[in-house]
């Protein structure tokens, strides 16, 4: 599975990226994680609030950092 963290480099985006790495590690899922910082690419996903989370090209979250439990739930639901 492919996970993308959308964000232009603000503090929230970095903490979501970090949280995603630990969530994936804790769940033991085989996933590639990418950071998308190009604003035109971010806009193509149609979100207006960063950070955004995209799993297999589907936007699953935008504008907030979920708690660890919720983040793991979101990721494991998309497996």
């Amino acid at each position: 599975m492919n996970i993308k963290v959308l964000g232009t480099g603000c503090a929230n985006c970095k903490s979501l990226e970090k949280a995603t790495y630990s969530a994936v590690a804790e769940l033991g899922i085989d996933a590639s994680i990418e950071k998308v910082e190009d604003i035109t690419k971010i806009m193509a996903y149609g979100i207006m609030r960063t950070p955004g989370l995209v799993i297999d090209e589907k936007v699953v979250l935008s504008g907030r950092i979920p708690g660890m439990t919720e983040l793991k739930e979101i990721i494991s639901k998309s497996v």
Binding site: M48, R49, I65
Partner: protein
């Protein structure tokens, strides 16, 4: 053993209700408690510089944190009803003045972080929200936010808070309206109009109420977790000045009789960057030491509303003349507000 209901779904509603009486008790007894702590337990003499400074910090810091926690929790719940997506939909195709009024008002309640200014700007402009209306939103959103309102209420009372909201709205509406009339679309970077706005496919979910309460908690955790440092620093500086800076020290610099103090405060305020949490305690001490209300408010609006980092972010989508026009119009608005208040009060 924890009562079972606290873990159930209803527990999320019951818990804040149970904590509320404690909140009121602490808030109510904070002043006598601080008095006891400083003058009895520490045995300090009332009126000495150190005692005054310490008292100011020990009283103001918990008071502001209590107010912040409570209000941000409720505002966090209210905000779940106002997403930028919905705001955009409400503003699409709106004509000038009504659109500006709506955008400025929605700017107060729609969650906004300056790091999201670019995607938000693109999202608005792409979907046909007029440029001037978008600006009304971009001016109101950072300047009039819940943290600013709570702090102003906590340190100055409700009158100043209402004045701030009212004048802030007036500036956001007028500045956006003027930018709309001037037709400055030519100063928007051309790639903005070429950007393709995708469809996120995120359903506009109707949240169940317990989920909204959970998001209220999250807002408290996120916002209070971020701003408490600024509040502490602001109040620390405030406490130092409260105790050690002589009365009327600011009168000769930011007093009513100094006519150029307002434009000067605005210019000094632009490169200074702080959120409301850090600046309000400092402004409260400026006033205490003789600065006039109009000048202090102008300084505060300039620091929060005209921030250099945000201009740098916006430079990606706006050409320099538009940024300068934006600073000029908002600065002029703030100046009028400053002189108006110095004249009235």
């Amino acid at each position: 053993m924890k009562p079972v209901f606290l873990k159930s779904r209803n527990g999320q509603i019951l818990l804040p209700l149970l904590l509320l009486p404690f909140w009121f008790l602490i808030y109510h007894y904070l002043q006598p408690f601080t008095n006891y702590l400083v003058y009895n337990a520490f045995g300090m003499t009332k009126g000495t510089q150190l005692a005054d400074a310490l008292w100011f910090f020990l009283f103001e810091f918990p008071k502001v944190m209590l107010l912040l926690t409570l209000i941000i929790f409720f505002v966090g719940i209210i905000r779940t009803f106002f997403t930028p997506e919905r705001t955009r939909k409400a503003l699409e195709g709106r004509k000038t003045f009504t659109g500006n009024v709506m955008a400025a008002s929605l700017g107060i309640v729609t969650p906004f972080c300056s790091c999201s200014a670019i995607p938000l700007f693109l999202g608005f402009v792409e979907s046909g929200v007029p440029l001037g209306v978008t600006f009304s939103f971009l001016i109101a959103a950072p300047m009039i936010n819940e943290v600013a309102i709570i702090l102003l209420y906590g340190m100055f009372g409700w009158k100043v808070a209402v004045i701030y909201v009212g004048t802030g709205l007036a500036i956001a509406i007028t500045a956006g309206w003027v930018i709309g009339i001037l037709k400055l679309e030519k100063w928007v970077e051309p790639w903005v109009y070429e950007t393709h706005l995708g469809n996120s496919g995120l359903a506009d979910e109707t949240l169940i109420f317990t989920k909204r309460i959970k998001l209220g908690y999250e807002a408290v955790r996120e916002i209070v977790g971020k701003v408490w440092v600024y509040v502490a620093l602001g109040i620390l500086v405030g406490a130092g000045a409260h105790g050690y800076v002589p009365e009327a020290f600011m009168a000769s610099l930011m007093g009513k009789s100094v006519w150029y103090s307002i434009p000067l405060s605005i210019i000094i305020g632009i490169p200074l960057y702080s959120n409301a949490a850090g600046i309000v305690p400092i402004v409260s001490v400026l006033i205490e030491k003789g600065a006039s209300l109009g000048t202090a408010l102008a300084f505060m609006m300039s620091v929060i509303g005209l921030s250099l980092p945000e201009m740098i972010i916006l430079r990606k989508v706006l050409k320099m003349p538009l940024i300068l026009t934006f600073i000029g119009i908002v600065g002029l608005g703030i100046m009028i507000v400053g002189y108006l208040f110095n004249y009235i009060f």
